[in-house]
């Protein structure tokens, strides 16, 4: 929390958007992260894969500052994650299951997020138009379908042109058309230099989007490298088979 500590984090132009060194976290007797070492390079889409309970969600939540690591060092966008909320100005987060105050309208939700960020942020409302959300924005959130809520959540994540997008199973609740639009949006964001951390079980989607793959197992990073490299290493042409091979190797 100290000022000195903040300064040593350095400027935001470090090539890594997320740098984790020996990050551990346990919930009671359950060791969820057992020393995660990871450097997520800037300007790339990094797919986060792993079986259930491998620590994916927990790791994502430590990046967001929602979960506090027990030990280890974690910097995001060049700033240490230490309880100071300012680094999150550069983040865009889309959770697996987005929920908003049910009696607010979609427009009020957007207004609230905008208000909390304060002035001086350039906005990107393209997704609202692409998803055809304009008419839905007048309705209270409680009357929106799950898919529409996800669309709203995606629009919120992209709203402030974040440097780092943190996406947790983003397309799970989206219909194929919306899912396609979302993917295009993500690739366009990468074009302008943004980075993304993308947790997904849909390997075909990762094959389409991810530049790098991080494979988590039992709270440790078992593989981190370009998608093509992973396929070459395992000898499979499909990401699905390559990951399956990793999982089997990990359990052996």
């Amino acid at each position: 929390m100290s000022v000195a500590e903040r300064r040593t984090g350095g400027p935001a132009e470090t090539p890594c958007v997320v740098a984790a060194t020996a990050v551990t976290k346990r919930f009671g007797r359950l060791e969820v992260l057992r020393g995660v070492d990871l450097e997520v390079p800037a300007g790339r889409i990094t797919g986060l894969v792993g079986p259930n309970a491998s620590g994916k969600s927990t790791f994502i939540k430590t990046v967001l500052g929602l979960v506090r690591p027990d030990s280890g060092r974690l910097t995001v966008l060049g700033q240490p994650v230490n309880g100071d909320e300012r680094y999150r100005r550069g983040l865009g987060y889309m959770p697996q299951d987005a929920r908003f105050p049910e009696n607010l309208t979609g427009r009020e939700v957007l207004e609230m997020v905008r208000d909390l960020r304060g002035p001086g942020q350039t906005e990107d409302v393209e997704l609202l138009g692409l998803f055809g959300l304009e008419t839905e924005l007048a309705k209270p959130v409680r009357s929106l379908s799950g898919g529409t809520r996800q669309k709203l959540s995606a629009a919120v994540a992209f709203l402030f042109r974040p440097d780092l997008l943190v996406l947790d199973e983003p397309t799970a609740g989206l219909d194929p058309v919306a899912s396609g639009l979302f993917k295009e949006k993500l690739l366009a964001a990468r074009e302008r230099g943004a980075s993304a951390l993308l947790a997904s079980h849909t390997l075909s989607e990762l094959e389409e989007l991810a530049d790098d793959i991080v494979f988590l197992l039992d709270g440790r990073v078992r593989y981190h490298g370009p998608v093509a490299e992973l396929m070459r290493l395992t000898g499979f042409a499909r990401l699905e088979k390559a990951i399956a091979a990793l999982m089997q190797r990990g359990q052996a």
Partner: protein
């Protein structure tokens, strides 16, 4: 503070449209109006409302407060992923809950009094004490509700605990105090009883209301002791301070928990 105020403003907009809060306001309105039609004079209405406020207000604050925090959980995560500090988030959430519940009480009870203002003497002072106590109780029990919801991950256990706390404060506590008085009747009990009263926010509310009405006999054992040994002035001050502490301490503990917890 700026961020907390903003969160409060939007939470407020959400909660005033909540059907339970609207229902709470309507029930208070109907009950107060009914008391006027049945009982007549403002004095008697206030005395009847007294028990209503002591029982009903904490129940609503505890149950609605815990449920509210559990339902808002995903949204809290989403907001905490924004550049929003935890203290500001906590303050905004609590203010956004306590303010509309207090509003419901002020409208539900206050409005009928305004409407009947012309029909004879309204005991303004007593009404203000009643509303003020209601506001303080709302504040204390929503703070306790937050503390409970932050303590228990599991909704069912949290909700159950909230109901137990209410039952304990509203029913069991006075019974236990009476039992203790009977068992230890050979000993001087004034000081222990005073302390026991300070330990129950509902008793404190009762003391505040009844000291002002000067009807010590109706106060139950703890209230009677309060008036006899402290007198009205000192008693009021002490009860008020203790009741404020019942908001401040749970809020302080809640903030600490909220700052450290994992979402």
């Amino acid at each position: 503070m700026r961020i907390a105020r903003k969160i409060l403003a939007y939470q407020l907009r959400d909660i005033v449209r909540n059907r339970w809060v609207i229902g709470y306001t309507v029930v208070l309105l109907v009950l107060t109006e009914a008391l006027f039609r049945l009982g007549g004079s403002g004095d008697r209405v206030i005395l009847s409302l007294l028990n209503l406020v002591l029982i009903f207000v904490p129940l609503v604050a505890l149950t609605f407060g815990t449920l509210y925090l559990y339902t808002a959980r995903e949204f809290i995560e989403l907001l905490l992923a924004q550049p929003v500090g935890r203290r500001a988030m906590f303050a905004g959430l609590w203010g956004g809950l306590a303010t509309p519940l207090c509003g419901a009480l002020l409208i539900g009870v206050g409005l009928p009094f305004l409407l009947h203002a012309g029909e004879g003497a309204v005991p303004v002072h007593a009404l203000l004490i009643l509303l003020g106590t209601g506001v303080l109780l709302t504040s204390a029990f929503t703070a306790l509700a937050f503390l409970i919801a932050l303590r228990f991950e599991d909704r069912a256990r949290g909700f159950g605990t909230a109901l137990l706390v209410w039952l304990g404060c509203a029913v069991v506590y006075d019974g236990l105090v009476l039992l203790a008085v009977t068992v230890f009747s050979d000993y001087p009990l004034e000081t222990p009883l005073l302390i026991l009263t300070l330990l129950n926010p509902l008793d404190l509310g009762r003391v505040l209301l009844l000291l002002d009405f000067d009807v010590a006999a109706l106060m139950g054992y703890t209230g009677a002791v309060f008036q006899r040994f402290l007198g009205t002035g000192l008693g009021l001050t002490l009860a008020l301070a203790a009741l404020l502490a019942w908001s401040a301490v749970p809020l302080w503990l809640g903030v600490r928990r909220f700052e450290r917890r994992d979402f």
